[in-house]
């Protein structure tokens, strides 16, 4: 038994570490069980539920991207949805232009990830190399997101076209002329092999689930690697990290770009899911929701941020059928959690469970509260 446990440890080596909650056998068994349950969920849930679940998982990706920079590296971005929106628009514009010629959305998928990364690289280089204070970075990101949203909102004029794609102002992205293709769902093609994932289908849900699991596991490896320890070093003690010879600005910039890639991916999937993207993706509500998911779940753990997004999205959907107060409740939940469990609910519960199973170490340590000032 002890032998098996050591072998498992070696197997899971890169995934496990002090930066993430859950590393024992019980945790991984639960994790696998949860993934299996989610994977077979379409067998006993309605089509409507599955369509919504796809969207929840897409939100989960966005939460992972903010959790990575805010929780691990201490970079709060109040405009994380801007990368989400940019990814969505980039995917839509490229897909509508290349669909006829290529028959697939491969290039659009990649563009939807790389364009937000390029944007993050430019913005991040300015913000981090100027050594701006964290609070200014947070606010400027929000302002940037609002500015992009304002720009897109006033693109109703028919002259705002990029090839076959018309930006369409408040109505969202649409074809330039009736002959041009509509915004497509994901179509992957490789030679003669073509796989289409309609946003309303079970196969799309499975694709999104696989992507979310892959991104989560990949990020676990990242944050538990040497690089991950550097991220936490930058969060806790930027000056000391610098003294040890690391370029704090480069670390911040690189993780910012990685987070932008994940947010862009989330935007791509969202656009493909609804075949629709709209300037409201850059608005205050979208941006604040990401922060709420991550803060309520717990920013210092990837799974906590992911769970925060899934559970709060589910609550929002439930509330939406009762009236217009979902956002009000989200705001109240945020304030309540910030007061009662500042580290986040999932982390508070996780630490409790950890103590129950005899693991002393807590996530998010050292407990010394350092806030960049």
């Amino acid at each position: 038994m002890a032998n098996a446990a050591t072998r498992l440890d070696r197997w899971l080596g890169p995934l496990n570490g002090p930066q993430t909650m859950g590393r024992g056998v019980p945790f991984w068994l639960c994790f696998i069980a949860a993934v299996v349950v989610l994977a077979i969920a379409p067998n006993f849930l309605s089509r409507y539920d599955i369509i919504n679940f796809s969207n929840f998982l897409i939100s989960g990706l966005l939460a992972l991207s903010l959790g990575l920079i805010w929780g691990y590296c201490g970079i709060l971005s109040l405009g994380q949805a801007s990368f989400f929106g940019l990814g969505g628009y980039a995917y839509g514009v490229v897909a509508m232009n290349l669909l006829r010629a290529h028959g697939n959305t491969d290039v659009a998928f990649v563009a939807g990830i790389l364009i937000p990364v390029a944007f993050a690289a430019v913005i991040g280089a300015i913000l981090f190399y100027a050594r701006l204070r964290g609070v200014y970075v947070a606010i400027l990101m929000l302002v940037i997101s609002l500015v992009i949203g304002t720009f897109l909102r006033q693109t109703a004029d028919p002259s705002y076209t990029i090839g076959a794609a018309y930006l369409g102002g408040m109505n969202g992205l649409r074809p330039t002329s009736p002959d041009d293709p509509l915004l497509p769902s994901l179509i992957f093609g490789f030679g003669d092999w073509v796989a289409e994932f309609d946003g309303r289908s079970v196969s799309f849900y499975h694709l999104v689930l696989a992507i979310v699991v892959a991104v989560y596991l990949g990020l676990r490896c990242v944050v538990n690697s040497t690089y991950g320890f550097l991220l936490v070093g930058v969060r806790e003690e930027p000056e000391r990290t610098e003294t040890f010879g690391y370029d704090v600005r480069l670390i911040q910039l690189s993780v910012f770009c990685l987070a932008a890639a994940i947010a862009g991916l989330s935007g791509v999937l969202y656009t493909a899911w609804g075949t629709y993207i709209h300037p409201d993706g850059f608005g205050v509500a979208q941006n604040i929701l990401v922060v709420i998911w991550v803060a309520v779940g717990g920013r210092k753990d990837l799974l906590a941020a992911l769970l925060g997004a899934l559970v709060l999205n589910w609550i929002s959907l439930r509330l939406a059928s009762e009236g217009e107060f979902a956002l009000l409740v989200m705001g109240a939940i945020l304030v309540g959690v910030m007061l009662l469990a500042p580290e986040g609910l999932a982390i508070a519960i996780g630490n409790r469970l950890g103590r129950l199973f005899g693991h002393g170490a807590k996530v998010g340590q050292p407990a010394v509260r350092t806030e960049e000032g």
Binding site: L76, A130, V135, I139, A295, V335, E371
Partner: protein
């Protein structure tokens, strides 16, 4: 059009913009400078001020009194918030940012539930005056006057009154101020209330030029934040004035050369450039220069 009218037109726009920025950012920058908290719910306090003004006005209260009601109302809301929530987040910039953003969401959504998405309008008082074929609204000048009066009032409050001295002492060194018998909790509470009251007054004043809805605050928040960010927290008043003068200049020139949206973008760009040069804001730079000048004029103690 003759030259005088042209110059007057630009000056009018410039001071209108300065007044706008000073009014919308004054409460925010005081709270930031004094307490190290950026209040993301500032726009919503302006919205509350606008609603109070509108309802009082339609209940027959004269407009100036209605604006004062707005200040008192928003100030009281602010003091309650400080007691219940904000005081747990002093000097924690990022957490306070997030929690006040949550409050702002609660306010705008709460007002949306209560009052619905319909908009309210107030008449703009004072009419206008003509200068060679063009008519200028007098109320914009009144707004600029109010901005000046508020800044002067804040300065006098923090310079001459007992509360001001205590507040500055608390800002400088809370532990020492506490040891000297200053009730620092009360000072924080009052300062936060004051910042919110200024927001309420600004909201009340803007209520007469803009449409009032639960999302009133969103129109002011981004620019107010940029003004505060550039101004910096080292000295609220000089920071506020300097950044409003600078940003309004950029805005006036670019809006006239291009359009409103490019003007908005250019203010963002200007904010970036100023922050690149002065990462802690204009007021920090001015304070340090003042300090250096004082040190230079004083003979060195080591002789």
């Amino acid at each position: 059009m003759d030259t005088f009218a042209l110059i007057f037109g630009y000056a009018y726009q410039y001071f209108d913009n300065v007044g706008f920025l000073v009014l919308s950012a004054s409460g925010l920058i005081i709270i930031f400078g004094m307490m190290g908290v950026i209040n993301m719910a500032h726009g919503e306090l302006m919205m509350i001020g606008a609603y109070i003004t509108a309802f009082s006005y339609y209940a027959g209260v004269p407009a100036p009194i209605a604006v004062i009601f707005a200040g008192v109302g928003a100030g009281l809301v602010g003091m309650v918030l400080e007691r219940l929530v904000i005081r747990y987040f002093y000097k924690q910039l990022l957490s306070s940012l997030v929690v006040t953003w949550g409050l702002s969401l609660m306010f705008s959504q709460g007002f949306l539930l209560i009052f619905g998405p319909s908009i309210l309008n107030l008449p703009t008082p004072f009419g206008g005056f003509p200068i060679s074929e063009q008519t200028f609204g007098s109320y914009r000048l009144v707004l600029f006057g109010c901005a000046l009066a508020l800044v002067a009032g804040i300065w006098a409050l923090f310079t001459f009154t007992r509360f001001g001295t205590q507040a500055r002492a608390t800002m400088e060194d809370p532990a020492m101020a506490d040891a000297l018998g200053i009730n620092t909790r009360q000072v924080y509470s009052l300062t936060f209330g004051l910042g919110c009251a200024l927001g309420g007054i600004a909201g009340g004043l803007f209520a007469m030029t803009a449409t009032i809805s639960p999302f009133f605050g969103v129109n002011y928040t981004p620019l107010a934040f940029i003004t505060v960010v550039i101004g910096g927290g080292a000295n609220a008043i000089t920071g506020l004035i300097a950044s409003a003068l600078a940003l309004a200049g950029v805005q006036t020139v670019v809006v006239n050369a291009f359009n409103q949206y490019v003007g908005y973008i250019s203010m963002m760009a200007a904010a970036f450039l100023i922050l690149l040069a002065l990462p802690r804001g204009i007021s920090d730079y001015l304070e340090r220069r003042k300090l250096r000048a004082v040190r230079a004029s004083r003979p060195s103690p080591h002789g």
